[in-house]
């Protein structure tokens, strides 16, 4: 009985922690606390009027209050109903990760190569097209971007060791 009760409570607690509203509410409450703490280091009121801390202090307080309210209301509704399905997010998160890596690479390889690699990854891995299709799309789109922006419109893009 005690074991069952403990298991039930643990299960409920886990569901509570998986609840999107609880997690986002907690993150925003922490951000609100950070805003309030930071604003205490600046002038709240100066002889000329409200100082740089005045506005952030009040929206920080509001953020803490509202996010705690969100956590409490999520807890009152019960964990299960508000759970977010992250299982379908794999493809989106992989795409984002590839995008983030391509930005890091851009500093060293420049736009043209990094963008071609990103395109190749999206076509071949995310959309599961053949390597040949991925290669053609990657090279064609990177070249098109290079011709339209830096060459035709003189828009500067991150350059790599080869000057593009």
């Amino acid at each position: 009985m005690l074991r069952w009760l403990r298991k039930g409570l643990v299960g409920q607690w886990m569901a509570f922690l998986k609840n999107g509203d609880v997690i986002s509410g907690a993150v925003l409450a922490a951000l609100g606390v950070y805003i309030v703490m930071q604003s205490r280091a600046w002038d709240y009121y100066t002889p000329d009027g409200p100082g740089p801390a005045f506005f952030p202090f009040w929206y920080g307080v509001a953020m803490v209050a509202l996010s705690l309210l969100l956590v409490v209301s999520a807890a009152r509704k019960g964990g299960e109903g508000q759970a977010v399905d992250w299982s379908a997010s794999g493809r989106a998160m992989m795409t984002w990760l590839a995008f983030a890596v391509s930005i890091v690479l851009m500093e060293f390889l420049g736009f043209l190569i990094s963008f071609a690699l990103l395109t190749f990854f999206i076509v071949a891995v995310i959309f599961r097209r053949s390597l040949a299709t991925a290669g053609i799309v990657a090279v064609a789109s990177a070249l098109a971007f290079h011709l339209v922006f830096p060459v035709a419109l003189s828009v500067s893009l991150p350059a790599g060791p080869f000057g593009f």
Binding site: P50, G51, W96, F127, V137, S141, P158
Partner: protein, 503 residues
């Protein structure tokens, strides 16, 4: 300058060959992005904004506005042919539009959507022409307290109507206010929230936030959904795209209903085309002698929402141009564009920048005609866009996002922020946080803080001065009421139903 001479001046500006060209480019791009699910007008305007920096402000805003209202025309095509709305404002069109198409009346449905869009879009612009001058004249008496109260009212309305959870809307708004505070305080030169990064002293570029949250966030959401749909065949030839006499007769009231409802709802910050299309559909069904036909392919079920979402454009530009208050994501980006060009939207815009104000208004009359021409005979051609593979489209959106964010500052650091805001946009949509309040908070945050601090300077710190002036007192009272009304159970159920039925 009175309305007639202002409009004549506007046509002189809008009919310049370069501006006609930019209007056409905007309408064409708008139609294309309207047709493509997964890329909205806000994302497109954000993506193209950096390319307009060197343009003449009148030409630039004419093109951006063309994208804004052109997307609403194009959005109906996918609703009717695929049962997938190209834009959120065309969700309601799916209900009867797709049913008409399944019954072999796809051409008539597309024709009705185009005609309703033209009629209501033009009525919306007439409303803008007539209402903007008196609103601007009234707003001339506004001082800092009134502007602060007005921004509170606008943001409260946006929060009320942008999502099912009021709490999440408010939190999204506060996040936007915080993001806009990052950088140097203009009153005291105090650095705020810069995390020791000197690159953040100038603040976060609006482009980076808008492109990240809208474009990257939307693409990630579309990649997750990854759905393919079968398109119904598009009839060829103008004759096959025209509705018959019975269908046009059934739509008479719907054209009027869509025009008026769309314009009035559009004037409200946060109202937006999606809400107006839903309300117009609801009114149409409520007054119909045959409500049972709705959902089975009723032509008026296409005409009312399509009319409303186009009349909404004229309404949405009233608060943007006369008060400097955007009503949603797209108009928030347009406000930023105007500010970047050195044009200050507000009561003085008509006198300080008549070329931009009246040029834009006049261009919308021309743009509506262009869109009717583009959307009637050329709809089979546009429908081919739906055959563009997503694995080509999405990398292109990533590429344009990089060009847009890097082009604004030339810093790789901003590309890192772009990735961060892209993730934020995606997570917000997963957790059902509306993004419009964040963008509006970001755009209006600086002006709101300035107005509040100036008001308190004027009154030597007396907060009550904000409610001692009648206009600001009325607006603040409305703002508080708007945020408190959802506490009434029946109202909140109605509000949530209106928002969820719009997807």
């Amino acid at each position: 300058m009175d309305v007639a001479s202002g409009l004549l001046h506007g046509f002189a500006v809008a009919l310049q060959p370069s501006n006609v060209f930019w209007c056409f480019v905007g309408c064409l791009l708008g139609t294309v992005v309207g047709i493509m699910p997964g890329l909205g007008p806000a994302a497109t305007i954000a993506l193209l904004l950096p390319l307009t920096f060197k343009m003449d402000p009148a030409g630039g805003i004419i093109m951006l506005a063309g994208i804004y209202y052109g997307a609403k025309y194009g959005g109906s095509t996918t609703s009717i042919l695929l049962n997938i709305p190209g834009e959120s404002s065309s969700v309601v069109t799916c209900i009867d539009g797709y049913q008409m198409a399944r019954k072999g009346r796809a051409g008539a449905a597309l024709g009705i959507a185009a005609i309703a869009s033209f009629v209501a879009g033009t009525v919306g612009v007439i409303g803008l022409t007539l209402i903007a001058p008196p609103v601007a004249a009234f707003a001339l008496s506004f001082s800092s307290p009134e502007y602060f109260a007005l921004m509170c009212l606008g943001l409260a309305l946006v929060v009320l109507l942008s999502g099912t959870s009021l709490l999440k809307g408010l939190l999204s708004l506060l996040l936007g206010l915080w993001l806009t505070s990052i950088g140097t305080d203009l009153f005291t030169a105090q650095a705020r929230f810069i995390f020791g990064q000197a690159t953040l002293l100038g603040g976060i570029d609006f482009m980076v936030v808008a492109i990240g949250v809208f474009a990257i966030g939307e693409v990630m959401g579309s990649i997750e959904a990854g759905e393919e749909a079968r398109m119904l065949p598009v009839p060829r030839g103008i004759r096959n795209l025209l509705p018959n006499r019975e269908e046009l007769k059934a739509c008479r009231f719907a054209f009027l209903n869509g025009s008026i409802t769309g314009f009035l709802v559009g004037c409200l910050p946060g109202g937006g085309a999606t809400i107006s299309s839903f309300i117009a559909y609801g009114i149409e069904k409520a007054v119909s002698k045959h409500p049972e036909r709705f959902g089975q392919g009723a032509p008026e079920g296409v005409a009312a929402p399509e009319g409303a979402n186009n009349a909404d454009t004229g309404g949405a530009l009233v608060p943007l141009l006369t008060l400097g208050i955007p009503s949603g994501g797209s108009t928030a980006i347009m406000l930023s564009a105007l500010v970047l060009w050195g044009v200050k939207p507000g009561p003085l815009m008509m006198t300080e920048s008549p070329n931009v104000f009246w040029g834009l208004v006049a261009s919308m009359y021309i743009g509506n005609v262009m869109l009717l021409i583009l959307n009637l005979p050329l709809v089979p051609l546009f429908a081919q866009i739906l055959r563009l593979p997503l694995y080509v489209l999405f990398p292109v959106i990533f590429g344009i996002s990089i060009v847009g964010a890097y082009g604004a500052s030339g810093r790789i650091f901003d590309l890192g922020l772009l990735a961060g805001f892209g993730l934020l946009g995606y997570v917000m949509s997963k957790l059902k946080y509306p993004s419009a309040p964040l963008i509006l908070g970001f755009v209006l945050g600086d002006a709101m803080e300035r107005a509040l601090r100036q008001s308190l300077m004027m009154s030597q710190g007396d907060v009550l001065s904000l409610v001692e002036r009648p206009i600001s007192a009325i607006m603040l009272t409305f703002a508080v009421m708007i945020l408190l009304i959802p506490l009434l159970g029946w109202f909140n159920r109605l509000r949530v139903r209106a928002i969820t039925e719009n997807g």
